[in-house]
Amino acid sequence: MAENKMQVTVSPHLHAKDETISRAMRDVLIALVPAAVWALIVFGMNVVYIIAVSCITAALSEVIMRKILGRKITLGDYSAMVTAVLFAFLLPPTTPLWVVAIGAFIAVALCKEIFGGLGKNVFNPALLARFLLWISPLGLYTAKFVKPFFWRESNFFTPVATSISEGAAGRVVYKTLAGNPIADVVSAATPLSLLKSGKMLPEIIAGPTPVGSTWVTSSGRPSLGSLFLGLKSGCIGEVSVLLLLIGGLYLIYRGTVDWRIPVGIIGSFFLLTLITWYHPVYNLFSGGLFLGAFFMATDWVTSPVTRRGKWLYAVGIGATIFILRFWYFRPEGVMIAILIWNPLAILIDRYVAVPKFGEVKAPVFNKLPALPEPVPKAAEKKT
């Protein structure tokens, strides 16, 4: 018997065929394709340029950081790609490519690798990078939005350049790369900023009343139908609720995402807007709620592992989004809410108890058992 070649490992000796990190990450990328394709149609080739720059920067950042930190290169697990695409999804379609590159570098190098790599990051890297960009001076470039099909007025393939005009403080002017300002593409308000800026008209709550071909209500706000299908201004990835839902359901079907988190977030948020009658349906289909609930909050590393914990985390995020939108009118509510709850996930896992099989009186909170002192620390063992 060729005995010297026998592999000796601890049981079990079988492994589920398709349970790997790279398969899960691939699933997420596949689930994002419909929304990305729709973004391409609505916002033109800019979307492709932004995603590409984000991916390339993310990959380079991971390789460089891992080389510096002396870790194995793990591009094969696609986790940098997922971060890159999700980060791109959080940007307005007119973000200058150099800002995209800086953001993608922040996401992978600072928000993931510095923490210790995939599995050790406390915050969702894409969200944290977006947040850091938002509060930085570069935030100006990522704060303005354009209306759907703006490219009709320039060219589908022409990249959009953004510049800050002198004189008018904070004013953003969109130009083609050749330098010609794009006519009539003044920053378009997103559905949530419209909600923030004034009272809602009854027709918005009532449902879609398409005007002409643009599915905009007579008040100038998008109808519910256009919100759901994705004819609105906003970040690249958040425009079509329908396509995000399809991607999310695919992830649930594949077992990559636990249904409790999106159901908990969307459900609790909807319930709260319903109770307060704060434009429940309009709010539901606006902003990054679906993108956040299905793709950001469900990030394995930064969400709790226990089922009880997942419910708590999801309802917590839903309630936080509601607070941020209802009292503070923050369109960035989803991002901030998830970032608040990311570090709490660790505490939830530590303290929310899971009843063991056959446990009659199950505790609510985990308690450390009293092992005889001293509990040996790693340092003690060395001496």
């Binding site: 000796h13 599995g119 969400s303 226990t306 099989f357 009659v360």
Partner: protein
């Protein structure tokens, strides 16, 4: 997504590839007598045995060669007639050094002489227990806990139900399946003896739905037994784990850290029940057992009746030898068995199979940092937190490891099977258990 089964089952668990067709249709055949048997002196959980023979002694087939005064122990018997060559330190199947009696068998081996049959109906509970003890019976599903101890439940916890574990939920293994097909009436007789021993009114034989032929055969063998029933269970791993099986069949849940007697149940494996029948009816001690030799690396997979102490290599030879490139040799099932560095270790009473894997079956990868996907929690039949046990053990935080359930883990391996980060949870759990036990002794 898992399809809901019509059969009873438990929460959690996995569906590994079963690969049972390799050996399930092969009738049990007797393995040849090896050139040498190495019989480990202690093959059970409990107090170690002392050798009753010395080098040069002549031993008969079935002669007691090792025993202990302690209650939690099971004697061992010679599996051949021959001469004791030595009492040696050998490397057992777990990799640890164990004391073993090395016996050179005679050229011609006698058949076992069945002792005059006792009237099984008239045996008392005490008599059944002492028969089990004298025959050296242990749990033959792999745990190897002395049977007579299990048959002595605490006085304040009456047992009303005896369950025979015919699930054989481990992939590849088919020996219990074959025993149920070929010796159903002995199995039923063994179950009745177990019921006598604990004065239980009811007996259940639980069989997974991938062995419907065994269900039919055993049901036919029941005849008019009104107190015994055969129940079909969903095909899922680890359906045959004691607590899972009780929960699936009766709905009773054994609390953490407690034994099945807590809920009035006793679980025994098919092989153990038949061995008890043999011991009571024929006076035959446990010196041989049926096991499965299988895997893509075995030329002619099959189910062998082999003598305890036969080295693995002899059994692989008896099955036609190796086919293709051998990459991993496992003693036991693929989910809980022990990988062997070579084929020298002898089989013991708890050995249910010998498996030889080819490289295509091996799926190992470097351990990645836990990505907190929570899949191990979903599959853990004990509802523990395997990822945090592993993490705590890695950082030597033993109190945390205990908090997350290290002591309640029975090492089924579902967590590692399903882990995308390829974390060897079982290895961490074993370490944590040992460290926690050491701390508690202080």
């Amino acid at each position: 997504m898992a399809v809901k089964s019509e059969y009873a089952t438990f929460k959690g668990g996995i569906h590994p590839p079963y690969n049972k067709e390799l050996a399930s249709s092969k009738s049990i055949r007797t393995a040849p007598v090896p050139a040498e048997v190495l019989i480990p002196l202690s093959q059970h959980i409990g107090a170690p045995n002392e050798a009753l023979v010395k080098a040069g002694d002549r031993v008969e087939l079935g002669q007691k060669i090792g025993a202990s005064e302690a209650f939690v122990s099971a004697p061992v018997h010679s599996s051949v007639a021959g001469t004791v060559k030595e009492i040696a330190e050998i490397t057992g199947f777990t990799g640890a050094k164990v004391k073993a009696v090395v016996i050179t068998p005679d050229e011609s081996q006698p058949d076992f002489e069945k002792k005059p049959g006792k009237d099984l109906e008239s045996l008392s509970d005490e008599e059944v227990r002492s028969i089990a003890k004298e025959a050296g019976l242990v749990g033959m599903g792999g745990a190897a806990f002395p049977t007579h101890v299990k048959l002595t439940p605490p006085k304040d916890k009456p047992v009303d139900m005896v369950i025979i574990n015919g699930c054989e939920c481990e992939p590849f293994l088919t020996c219990d399946h074959r025993l149920m097909l070929e010796r159903p009436s002995d199995l039923v007789a063994g179950l009745k003896l177990l019921m006598t021993a604990v004065k239980a009114k009811k007996g259940i034989i639980g069989i997974e739905a991938n062995k419907m032929d065994a269900v039919d055969t055993v049901r036919a063998a029941l005849g008019k037994e009104a107190d015994i029933s055969v129940e079909v269970l969903e095909v899922k791993y680890p359906e045959g784990a004691e607590k899972m099986l009780i929960s699936a069949l009766t709905g009773r849940k054994v609390p953490p850290g407690k034994l099945p007697s807590e809920v009035g149940c006793l679980v025994q494996n098919v092989g153990t029940a038949i061995a008890l029948y043999e011991a009571a009816a024929w006076g035959k001690p446990l010196y041989e057992r049926v096991l499965t030799v299988s895997g893509p690396g075995i030329k002619e997979p099959g189910n062998l009746l082999a003598r305890i102490g036969t080295p693995i290599s002899a059994l692989v030879e008896a099955c036609g030898g190796i086919k293709g490139e051998a990459a991993k040799l496992i003693m036991g099932g693929p989910m809980t068995g022990w990988a062997q560095p070579d084929s020298s270790a002898p089989i013991v009473k708890g050995t249910s199979g010998i498996l030889l894997f080819t490289p295509d079956l091996i799926d190992t990868a470097e351990e990645h940092e836990c990505v907190r996907c929570g899949k191990c929690l979903d599959v853990c039949p004990m509802f523990l937190l395997p990822n945090f046990i592993a993490q705590s053990a890695k950082r030597e935080l033993w109190d945390k490891a205990e908090m997350y359930g290290a002591l309640d883990c029975f090492e089924c391996g579902c967590c590692s099977f399903t882990c995308p980060a390829y974390i060897p949870h079982v290895s961490y759990v074993r370490k944590a258990k040992a460290e926690i036990a050491a701390l508690k002794k202080r």
